[in-house]
Structure formats: structure tokens, C-alpha cells
């Protein structure tokens, strides 16, 4: 049979186009002002010491302050003020990053207002009625308690529905106002404390301890209270600390050399040199970058339970993606009409369309759409269907259709059902049907057979018209996404319950690297372990309770918010939108986080070259006039040169806060080309920019009285 790939209906629900930029919220200048008090509070040395680079700057600022009080001069005060500003700017970046989470935490807290719970007695069993309820505060609920919640009430704690079905408003958490259905049993049983039941009555078994509910964790996460340094952040901190120590030693030991040269330096100048050399730019922004990375996930409605998971996302080698909902649209769609001989394809299309007009299932609608697109068959005029009687699909008949007045009946449905229907009406299905049906099945599609009975003058003829080919529709743009992932060195594996034949066909079409067909939870687990034993990091999404072990085993396990609480507990991220495709974005955010760190580190170190050229001649040109030749920027005077370097150093922090919060531009591509781009931008840029910046600042500050 012909493959229909070329004629595949275009899905109406395409992926959001890959923007090539994992964008995050922009910086609102007002945030700087509102975060200022927090920034000042962070000046507490006990807080500062956690950031060794900025702690050194703060100690330096204290030293210059004392020195400026003792020997006041314009220069000493300019340096002092700008050193303090450097520290404040660093704190500000962190405060701004945290501030964005705080607003969200506020909303969440409101959902957590003192809720009362209607607790059922401990001996309650599903189905039991007429037991007495106790009214207790939500905070007194313990694991395993059962509570009853009715329409209009707030669910007092996280749990699983054990009895009943209800529609629940989860907008407090997801921001999505459309209610969702939660029912006992199955994969949609989890409810979250703080959400509201809109209809019906459910009994919930509490699965979280007070203070450790999902909402509590969310609040902690978005506020950054639970923030711990991630492994990579620690490693980078170690490197930065050691660079700081090297530069400290270089400057401290410079004094005896300088004294020998007859150019003893003041404490203000030595502190200025240290601050200019140590990697303040990255030191100031490092924690903001981490917080903003988590925040970017939150903005996409993904909650990472730890920063570690976000980092791991950047390292992922293998993505396990569920077929349905991620790679294909949730439902099968009509792709082709295959008539038996003697029936024109338009005739089949017409019959298929008629039989589906009242069929509101996605499959049914897709048939109507295909008929319209391919054969220009539109809806019928009113009179035409005046006497039509639609026959809905039932599990018993396994077909649906229409009886057009008394002369014509149409049915479509499972091959066996429709053939039986034809035989019952005295028809003989042709031999052709079997091979067509088998062919479609073999290619991974679903065949729907269309049958017709016509009655004329008491005799009825029944026959098979043809077969509708329903198939999985691969999401638009997903192939390109997988190509991008491949360029990034990430392998994609499709997980499906389909048979291998079907799976292979879809895998081929979607462009995944590999697939796991007829997948059981055990198979999934084995696949993850196999990948991991080769040193690979695996990411996956899941929602069912049987996904939980695999979610826990995976390095990045994204649980769908619609899933069971077991799944949410096992994963290290929760997607509130329950959109499995988001896994790809999560990977990109993880990468972007690391790239931002690396880029700003490179930038910070490259900056030092220009600062040397500003400060060293300023320090020593008086005794060794030859060193004046190092003043290639032609800075006005020693004091203006040193001030300019320090002012640049402080301003660049403020200038880079938006970049730190937003993350650097990220395009999925190979490591080599990514590196080239970032080296040019942040390495060479970092080398050149301060030469320009310091010169410009010098042009201004030379007019400050006392700095010439």
C-alpha cells in the first residue's frame, strides 16, 4: 500500500516554534530599587563570607574607609565609595533574582491560608458512610489521614483521591484557570493542598507531612530559601576563590617590591588593585545566575526540586520521550481513503464524511477535515440531512455511522464489526479488504472500514466501500527539534506501548534516534540503567505510578502535574502544565545556565588585562617613567586611571545583571561552534570592552576636582 507520508494532514496543534532563545523575563528597572533594602541587608559579613570574592571586596572597602577617614582625599573617598557600590551591586543582583521569586511565593502563601480539614476516623474504608467527621486544622493532618472535601472547599493537603471524582481548580499552582478532573484510581488521582474543589465530593488520603507539602516546597523553591550551591557552582567557586588568593598574594607581595623600587603604595591603591584583579564580575553575579536559572524554569511552570537537577539537565545525553503527547498528537487522525475496486475514492470520502459528521471524537473530526481538504467535500445542506439519524459509537457495536432516511445506511468502524454488519445485511465483503486492513496495521496505522447498505424497492445491497487509514500524527516541527538535539549531542529514544512495527514507522517519521516498543515500566527502567552504566545521563517524563521507579532512577525525571503523587515524589522536577515536550526546553535552560556562568567567568578574567594597563603605570610610572609606555589608553592621571578602573569594575556588574538574569543567548549547535561564538563574544569582548570603558570613564572623571 502506498505510504501516505507525503499527504499527511498537517496538525492543527503545532509545537510552539523553537525560538532559539530560552528567554526569561526581562529586568524591570523598578526591581533594582525595590531590592535595594535586601541588598543592603546582605552586607552583613556573616552573609558575605559565603561569597569569597565579594567578601574580599567588602574587607577592602572597610580598609579604604578607615584609610580615607585617616587621610582624607578626594581620591580615597572616590575609591571607597565605589568599592562599597561594587559590593552593593553584587548583592543587588542576588536580591533582584530572589525578588522575582518572592512575588510568586506571596501568591502561593495566599493559597495556603489556614484551611480546616474534615478528617475521617482512622478506621474509615472506601465505601463506608455515615462515619463521624472531625474538624481539624490542616496543619494537624498526618500521613495516611483521610479527609473529605466537597464543592467549594479547599483541599487541605497533598494526597491521592481514594473515593469519588471531582473537578478541581488548580489555578493557585498552575496559573491555569480551566478546572481539571481528579478521580480515585488511575493516574489522575493526585490532588494538591491549596487547590479548590469545584464540584462533587472526594475523599483524599493525605500523603505529605505538614510543612512539607507541595505548596510549601514550591514557596521555598521560588523564594530561594532552600537554595543550595550546585556541584558545578561549588567547583566554579573554588576556582574563583583560588584566583582571588593568587591575586591577593600578588598584590600583598607587591608592596615590598614597590618599597624597594622607592614607590611605596598607599593602602587605597593596593586595595583598588586587588579589587580590580579578582574576578568580581562573575563573583558578583554567580548566585544571581543560579537563582535566575531556576526562575526561568518556574516561569515555564516547571518546578525543579533542586538546582542540581537543572544542572544535570544541561548534561543529559539521552532523552526518553513518551510517544503520545510528546512526539505525536494525542490522537490518531485520518490520513488517507483507500477504496476497494469499483468505488471511486470520492465516493468513499463522501461516505466516510457523512458517517462522521456527528462523530465528535478527534478521529471522526479528522475524517471530516481530510475529506474537506483533499476532496473539497463540505458540510451538507440542511435539507439533505433532514431525515438522517446518526448512530453513535458504542463499545458493543464498535462502529458508528448514519442512516440517511430509509434508503441508505453508512457505518464505519473496526474491520470485523463492519464486515459482520455488511454480512448481516446480505453483502459479501470483497477479498480486497483483508490485505488493505492488514497493510495499514502493519505500517502502524489503524484501519477503519466503511460499509454501506442501500435499499431500493425492498432489496438491500450491502458492500464495503473502502478503508480509512488512521495514523498517529507527528507534531509539526518535532523532527527539527530532534535534529537540534542531535547536533547538541543528545540522543532521543521514543517510548511507546505500540508494537515494534508501528513504533518503527513513527520513529522513522519523527526522526528519533531509537525507540522502545511495547514498553513496560521494567523495560524503561532497564533502558535507563543501561544508558547510565555507560556513563550517560538520562532524562525522562512520566506521570503514572508505574513510572515512579524510572523517574527516580533517571538523572532528570520530570513528573507531570496531572500525574500521581508517587510520580511527583519520585521525579526531581514537576511540570505544572503537564506538557512532556517541555523536557527539551528544560535541557536548554540547563545548558544556558552553565554557558552563562562560563561566559561571565571568561569575561571577568579577560577584563583584568585592561585593568593592569590602567593601574600598573599609574602606580609606578613616577619611579620608572618607562612604564608610562604601558599607559596605552592615555589615561589622564594616576588617580583618574585607578578611579576609572574601579568605577568600570562596579558599573559592569550593574550592566550585566540583565544578562545574568536572562542568561546568554543559546542556540542549539555543536560544542565547537558554541565555544567559538562564546569565546569571541565574551573572551575577546572581555578583553577589548574594558579598554574602551575605562577610557570613557577617564574622560569624565578627569574633571572631578582632586582627581588630576
Amino acid at each position: 500500500m502506498p505510504t501516505a507520508a507525503a499527504h499527511r494532514p498537517v496538525s492543527k496543534d503545532p509545537l510552539p516554534p523553537s525560538t532559539h532563545r530560552v528567554s526569561g523575563g526581562m529586568l524591570d528597572p523598578r526591581q533594582l530599587a525595590t531590592s535595594l533594602p535586601d541588598a543592603l541587608r546582605k552586607l552583613d559579613p556573616r552573609v558575605m563570607v559565603r561569597n569569597p570574592v565579594m567578601f574580599v571586596v567588602e574587607v577592602g572597602a572597610v580598609l579604604t574607609t578607615l584609610s580615607a577617614i585617616k587621610d582624607p582625599s578626594v581620591f580615597a573617598w572616590v575609591i571607597t565609595v565605589w568599592l562599597w557600590l561594587t559590593v552593593v551591586f553584587a548583592n543587588l543582583s542576588e536580591a533582584v533574582a530572589e525578588g522575582r521569586g518572592k512575588a510568586q511565593a506571596e501568591t502561593l502563601r495566599r493559597a495556603k491560608t489556614a484551611t480546616m480539614a474534615r478528617r475521617l476516623p482512622a478506621d474509615w474504608r472506601p465505601g463506608a458512610t455515615g462515619l463521624s467527621e472531625a474538624e481539624v486544622a490542616a496543619t494537624e493532618l498526618r500521613l495516611g489521614d483521610h479527609v473529605v472535601v466537597e464543592a467549594g472547599q479547599i483541599i487541605p493537603g497533598d494526597g491521592d483521591v481514594v473515593e469519588g471524582v471531582a473537578s478541581v481548580d488548580e489555578s493557585a499552582i498552575t496559573g491555569e484557570s480551566a478546572p481539571v478532573i481528579r478521580e480515585s484510581g488511575g493516574d489522575r488521582s493526585a490532588v494538591t493542598g491549596g487547590t479548590k474543589v469545584l464540584s462533587d465530593r472526594i475523599v483524599v488520603r493525605i500523603t505529605s507531612k505538614p510543612g512539607e507539602t507541595f505548596i510549601d516546597r514550591m514557596i521555598a523553591l521560588v523564594e530561594g530559601a532552600a537554595r543550595q550551591k550546585t556541584p558545578n557552582e561549588i567547583a566554579l567557586n573554588i576556582l574563583l576563590a583560588s584566583l582571588t588568593i593568587i591575586f591577593l598574594v600578588a598584590v600583598v607581595t607587591l608592596q615590598p617590591f614597590a618599597i624597594f623600587a622607592g614607590a611605596e603604595q598607599s593602602i587605597v591603591i593596593l586595595v583598588a588593585l586587588v579589587v580590580a584583579l579578582i574576578p568580581t564580575t562573575i563573583g558578583a553575579l554567580l548566585s544571581a545566575i543560579g537563582i535566575a536559572g531556576m526562575d526561568r524554569l518556574v516561569q515555564r511552570n516547571v518546578l525543579a526540586m533542586s538546582g542540581r537537577a537543572v544542572e544535570a539537565a544541561g548534561d543529559v545525553n539521552t532523552l526518553l520521550l513518551d510517544k503520545t503527547g510528546t512526539i505525536t498528537l494525542g490522537n490518531r487522525q485520518a490520513a488517507e481513503f483507500l477504496p476497494v475496486s469499483g468505488v471511486p475514492v470520492e465516493g468513499l470520502a463522501d461516505a466516510a464524511q457523512l458517517s462522521s459528521l456527528a462523530d465528535e471524537t478527534p478521529e471522526g473530526r479528522s475524517i471530516v477535515v481530510l475529506a474537506k481538504e483533499r476532496y473539497a467535500l463540505r458540510g451538507r445542506t440542511e435539507g439533505e440531512l433532514a431525515h438522517a439519524e446518526f448512530v453513535p459509537f458504542t463499545a458493543q457495536t464498535r462502529m458508528s455511522g448514519v442512516d440517511l432516511d430509509t434508503s441508505r445506511s453508512l457505518r464505519k468502524g473496526a474491520a470485523t464489526a463492519v464486515m459482520r454488519w455488511v454480512r448481516e445485511h446480505g453483502g459479501h465483503p470483497t477479498e480486497e479488504v483483508g490485505p488493505i486492513v492488514d497493510g495499514i496495521s502493519a505500517s502502524g496505522g489503524t484501519p477503519l472500514v466503511v460499509g454501506e447498505v442501500t435499499r431500493q424497492e425492498g432489496t438491500s445491497t450491502a458492500r464495503i466501500l473502502g478503508v480509512i487509514h488512521l495514523k498517529d500524527v507527528v507534531k509539526q516541527g518535532i523532527r527539527e527539534r530532534f535534529d537540534e538535539l542531535r547536533r547538541m549531542g543528545i540522543k532521543t529514544v521514543m517510548i511507546t506501548g505500540d508494537n515494534p512495527l508501528t513504533a518503527a514507522a513513527i520513529a522513522e517519521e519523527a526522526g528519533v534516534d531509537d525507540f522502545l516498543a511495547e514498553a513496560t515500566p521494567e523495560d524503561k527502567m532497564a533502558l535507563i540503567k543501561r544508558e547510565q552504566s555507560g556513563g550517560k545521563l538520562v532524562a525522562m517524563t512520566g506521570d503514572g505510578t508505574n513510572d515512579a521507579p524510572a523517574l527516580a532512577q533517571a538523572d532528570v525525571g520530570v513528573a507531570m502535574n496531572t500525574g500521581t503523587s508517587a510520580a511527583k515524589e519520585a521525579g526531581n522536577m514537576v511540570d505544572l502544565d503537564s506538557n512532556p515536550t517541555k523536557l527539551i526546553e528544560i535541557v536548554e535552560i540547563g545548558k544556558q545556565l552553565l554557558i552563562t556562568r562560563g561566559a561571565l567567568t571568561t569575561f571577568s578574567i579577560a577584563n583584568d588585562v585592561a585593568k593592569y594597563f590602567a593601574i600598573i603605570p599609574a602606580m609606578f610610572a613616577s619611579v620608572y617613567p618607562g612604564l608610562h609606555r604601558l599607559n596605552i589608553m592615555g589615561l589622564h592621571s594616576p588617580t583618574s586611571a585607578i578611579s576609572s578602573a574601579i568605577i568600570f569594575n562596579a558599573l559592569i556588574i550593574i550592566a550585566l545583571i540583565p544578562l545574568a538574569l536572562r542568561g546568554v543567548r543559546y542556540r542549539p549547535s555543536s560544542a565547537s561552534s558554541l565555544l567559538n561564538r562564546n569565546i569571541v563574544l565574551y573572551g575577546f569582548g572581555g578583553l577589548v570592552l574594558p579598554f574602551i570603558g575605562i577610557k570613557l570613564i577617564d574622560l569624565l572623571v578627569q574633571f572631578v576636582p582632586g582627581l588630576h
Binding site: P231, I234, A235, L236, I238, L239, A241, S242, I245, I246, F247, V249, A250, V251, V252, T253, L254, P256, F257, I259, F260, A261, E311, G314, D315, N317, R486, R487, M488, G489, I490, S533, G535, K536, G590, K591, Q592, L594, I595, G598, A599, T601, T602, I605, V609, Y612, I616, F620, Y624, G626, L627, R629, L630, A671, S672, L674, L675, N676, N678, I679
Partner: protein
């Protein structure tokens, strides 16, 4: 043949000879470090030494062996010098003073070979042969052993074993250093280097003066002095002395010998990690830095001369031997300061500020182009790790080098490594400059005097051992301070390298994908060179500005 052509030919012949030995020597070293079979004589050594030759050690055991061996060596060498007047072949020498004996012991055990004494007058033949020359072999072997352990950290997985120190040490001495030195000593003798057991001979010069000349087993020591990047000369004048280095051929051979192991080890590295391209990338960085440095020093010595005498001589000939000339002297100076060898065939103190400053800068680079035997390779691998860490972040992954992730633990050891040497240099020089008594040891005033002190500490901390001269370093303070700096500058980095090796060996390697930062391309070569120059340049820039730069930019 004019001097320029001769200079170029020497350089080209050197590069050619190094290129020819790259593969065979590198592969042979890899074989020696990995082959499971012991020689019979090696088994005998293990039995006599009471060590187990068949069991690999975890890194702490490897380190303990190394430190114990080195400590015993220092004590032995110290006692040897203090008691030398009671020994055979003492040729009338007196016991060495305690501080000098400590300094010398530390110096030879650490592969530095800083010499605060005059070899011909202070040391008897037995001390030279059985003490100093023995250390020339084993200290070089220790360096190679440490880098072997580091490479095993990359190649092994999920183990705590990084090799067996005693096996590595024994094999490198017996299978590599001894045979090559033996052959090369004979070649040197053929070239005119002396080899005898004469005492001091008095001769009458043409002018009728009397002169005392010490003979000795020079050629045998000369070969390993260069091959093991030791640099401790039999004579005070080192390779400027005609008995050690009589003519341009022996000079060329000595340069070749001091570079050959350093430049071949990257091949060993590539071979052992199973990807020769990784070795090519490393050797490319080494070669680039070496070539640039040769060009800068040679150009400075030829052209940056201010005196009219210099112009008449066709370049800066002060402090250089007539029989070598500017080209061969500059080539030697660059090679010896970039390898932690420290042998000299001219006096770096007399170089132009640019040329002399470059020799300091060469050492400040951390002796990695190609560096000392073994220590050069582990030095550059640590810098490669730092490079990979920063660059790896920029490709959006947890950085990994050769499949091993660079996490907090790995960065801790790499950071400590890069902290150690600059810390020692700057603190040492800072103390010396702060103490009025020690400042007086400078023979020059101003920037040049400062350069002398800076050079001394740079040389000691980087285990180079060459001296700028012009510094009276044989004082109790300098002997002790420099001795300590040499020991810390040698063994602290080794501790960090071995610890790093242990933490790499434990890891399960990460597979290479398109998302992995490639570390064998020109891109990485450029990046590593950049990090090398910027990290070093930034650390030492203020100090250099007050010494050679201030002097050069007058």
C-alpha cells in the same frame, strides 16, 4: 657560513631531531609504563627493596612511597655531603656547611639542581657520582612516575589504583634513563667532554700563571643532567665550561637531550589515553610557546642592544661564550628555562632586559613547554583542566576532560596546584625584599637587582635551578629559604596531582558526543595557550613590571 644561517640550521635540526624521536620515544615510554611484565633485574630490585612490584597502589599509598623515598634521599644526600671528607675520591674537599648541604640536598632531590656551591671545589667525586648523579636519575624518574599516575587517572575507571610507585620508578630508571644516558655519555665523550677521576691538576698557562684544574667523571653526569632536566653542573660554570660542553655539537646535543623527554611525553599521554590527537594538541601548545620564546629571546639578544660594543659584536655578547654565539646561547637559554632543566651555557643576568625577562617569564609559565621530565606534562595537563573547565561551561555541560568530569573535587586540586608555585615565588621574593639583610645579597641595584631575587625564587619554586647570577645566594637565609621553596614547589604540586589522579580514576567515564568540548582541535590549542599566558601573565605582571619591564622600557 654566516651566523644567522648557522643559527637557523641548528634550530631546524633540533626541531627535526625532536620530531623524529617523538613517536619512538613516546611510544616506548607508554610501553614501559603499561607493560605487565617485569624484567628479572627489576624483580631483584623489588626484592632487595622489600616492596611488592605486582600490586597497584591507591593514590595515598603511591604518594607515601614517593614522599618516603624523597625524604630518605634528602637525608642521605645531606649526610653524604657532611661526611664527604671521610669518603673515597674526596679530592681534598671539606665537609659542606649545614645550610648549603640542606640546600643542595633539597635541590637535587627536587630535580631543581640550584647550586649555591661551585661543583669543582666543594664536592668530591664520590658525592658527585653516587650522590648527586644518582638523584639526577631518580628525581627525573619521580616526575615521570607522577605524570604516569595522572594519566592512569584518566584511563582507568571505577578504581582507586593509580599504579605502583616503585615499579614506575625502577622501570623509568632502568629501561629509559640509564640506557639513553649511557649512550649519550659516550657520544659526549666523543664530542670532547671529559670523563676521568683526576684530582686537581696544576698547570702553567702560556702567560706563566698557575691554574688549578679539576678533572672528574663529567660526561656521565652531563648526559643525565640534560636528559633528566636536572641542570646541576659538575662545574660551577655549568655548560659554559669547556670540559662539560666543549663545542657547538655538544651544545646542540645537550639542548636536544634536555628537550627530548619533555616533548615526547605528550605522545606517551596520547598513546595511553587511546587518542593520539590529545597528545598532538598538548605538544602543539608546548611547541608554540617554545618557538615564540626562542624567537623573542633571539631577536632581543640580536637587536635590542644599546651599547656600541654590543653593536660591534653583532648582538648582546656579554655573558655568552664565543664558541656558541648568540643563536645557540639564546636557544639554550630558552630551552633550559622552559624545561626546569636549569643548565646554562651563558649568563642570563647579562641578557638584554627583554631576553632576560623572557627567561624569567618562561619559568613563571610553570615549566610546561615542554617542562621537566614528567612535571612539564602534569603541569600543562592541570592547565588543560582549568581551560576545559571554563570552556566546557561555555558549551553548556558540566566540563569533562577525556571523559572525566571536572567537579568540585577535581577543581579543588587543580586550583591548589596553580596556587602553589606563584604563592611560593611571590611570598619568597616578597620576604627577601622586605628583609634588609637579604636585599644586600643583590649585586645590582634597582630593577636589575630585583630581577635577580625574583629570578632566584622563580627558579627554585618551579624547580628550574638556573640562576640569574648576580645574587650572592650562598647565605644561611637564602640556602634555607630557597631549599624550602624547592621542596614545597616540588612536592605540594605532586600531592595535588596524585590526589587529582585518584579522584579521576574513581569516575565512570562520560561518553563523547557532539555536545562534548573537543580537546584535540586547533581551537583548544589556542585556548590552552591563551589561558596559559593570561593566567600566568596576570599573576606575575606587577612583579615583572617592577623588574624586567621597568628595565626594558627605560
Amino acid at each position: 657560513m654566516n651566523e644567522t644561517l648557522a643559527g637557523w640550521l641548528q634550530i631546524l635540526a633540533l626541531v627535526g631531531a625532536l620530531a623524529l624521536s617523538f613517536r619512538p620515544l613516546g611510544d616506548y615510554l607508554a610501553h614501559v609504563l603499561t607493560c605487565p611484565r617485569h624484567w628479572r633485574v627489576e624483580r631483584l630490585v623489588y626484592r632487595v627493596g622489600g616492596v611488592r612490584g605486582d600490586a597497584d597502589q591507591p593514590w595515598p599509598a603511591y604518594l607515601r612511597g614517593l614522599l618516603a623515598f624523597s625524604a630518605v634521599s634528602v637525608l642521605f644526600l645531606y649526610a653524604f655531603q657532611r661526611l664527604q671528607n671521610h669518603l673515597l675520591l674526596s679530592v681534598g674537599t671539606k665537609p659542606v656547611a649545614p645550610d648549603l648541604a640542606f640546600n643542595t640536598a633539597a635541590s637535587f632531590v627536587t630535580n631543581t639542581n640550584w647550586q649555591s656551591y661551585s661543583g669543582e671545589s666543594a664536592m668530591g667525586h664520590l658525592v658527585q657520582m653516587a650522590g648527586l648523579a644518582v638523584q639526577n636519575f631518580v628525581s627525573a624518574a619521580v616526575g615521570i612516575a607522577v605524570v604516569a599516575a595522572l594519566i592512569r587517572g584518566f584511563t582507568r575507571k571505577k578504581t582507586d589504583r593509580v599504579g605502583n610507585f616503585w615499579v614506575d620508578l625502577t622501570r623509568i630508571v632502568l629501561r629509559v634513563l640509564l640506557p639513553i644516558s649511557f649512550v649519550m655519555a659516550i657520544v659526549l665523550v666523543a664530542g670532547g667532554t671529559i670523563q676521568n677521576f683526576h684530582g686537581i691538576q696544576s698547570i702553567t698557562t702560556i702567560a706563566g700563571d698557575h691554574q688549578s684544574i679539576t678533572g672528574g667523571p663529567v660526561a656521565s653526569q652531563e648526559a643525565i643532567k640534560e636528559l633528566g632536566t636536572n641542570g646541576g653542573g659538575f662545574y660551577n660554570a655549568n655548560s659554559t665550561h669547556p670540559f662539560e660542553n666543549p663545542n657547538p655539537f655538544t651544545n646542540w646535543l645537550e639542548i636536544y637531550l634536555l628537550l627530548v623527554i619533555g616533548f615526547s611525553l605528550p605522545r606517551t599521554f596520547g598513546r595511553m589515553v587511546g587518542d593520539n590527537r590529545q597528545g598532538y594538541a598538548i605538544v602543539a601548545v608546548m611547541g608554540l610557546v617554545w618557538a615564540a620564546s626562542v624567537a623573542i629571546v633571539t631577536a632581543n639578544e640580536l637587536h635590542s642592544v644599546s651599547s656600541s660594543a654590543g653593536h660591534a659584536a653583532g648582538g648582546m655578547m656579554e655573558g655568552k661564550e664565543q664558541r656558541f654565539g648568540i643563536w645557540a646561547s639564546a636557544l639554550f637559554a630558552v630551552s633550559t628555562t622552559l624545561t626546569s632543566c636549569g643548565a646554562v651555557n651563558s649568563f642570563h643576568d647579562s641578557y638584554t632586559p627583554g631576553g632576560g625577562g623572557m627567561t624569567i617569564f618562561n619559568m613563571m609559565l610553570g615549566e610546561i613547554a615542554p617542562g621537566g621530565t614528567g612535571s612539564g606534562l602534569y603541569g600543562i595537563l592541570i592547565l588543560a583542566i582549568v581551560t576545559v573547565f571554563v570552556a566546557g561551561l561555555m558549551v553548556g555541560r558540566t566540563p569533562e576532560y577525556l571523559g572525566k568530569k571536572l567537579g568540585a573535587r577535581e577543581m579543588k586540586f587543580a586550583s591548589l596546584y596553580i596556587l602553589t608555585t606563584p604563592g611560593l615565588v611571590l611570598v619568597g621574593a616578597g620576604l627577601a625584599m622586605a628583609l634588609p639583610g637579604e636585599r644586600a645579597a643583590m649585586l645590582n641595584s634597582g630593577q636589575h637587582g630585583f630581577s635577580e631575587v625574583l629570578y632566584a625564587f622563580t627558579s627554585a619554586a618551579n624547580n628550574n635551578g638556573s640562576a640569574f647570577a648576580g645574587l650572592s645566594a650562598n647565605t644561611a637565609w637564602y640556602n634555607t629559604a630557597l631549599g624550602l621553596v624547592m621542596i614545597l614547589g616540588r612536592f605540594l604540586p605532586m600531592v595535588f596531582v596524585l590526589a587529582l589522579s585518584g579522584s579521576l580514576a574513581r569516575q565512570q567515564p562520560v561518553p563523547v558526543t557532539a555536545g562534548t568540548l573537543p580537546t584535540h582541535r586547533p581551537q583548544f590549542v589556542g585556548l590552552l595557550t591563551g589561558v596559559l599566558l593570561i593566567v600566568v601573565g596576570l599573576t606575575y605582571f606587577p612583579a615583572l613590571a617592577l623588574g624586567p619591564l621597568a628595565e626594558g622600557l627605560r
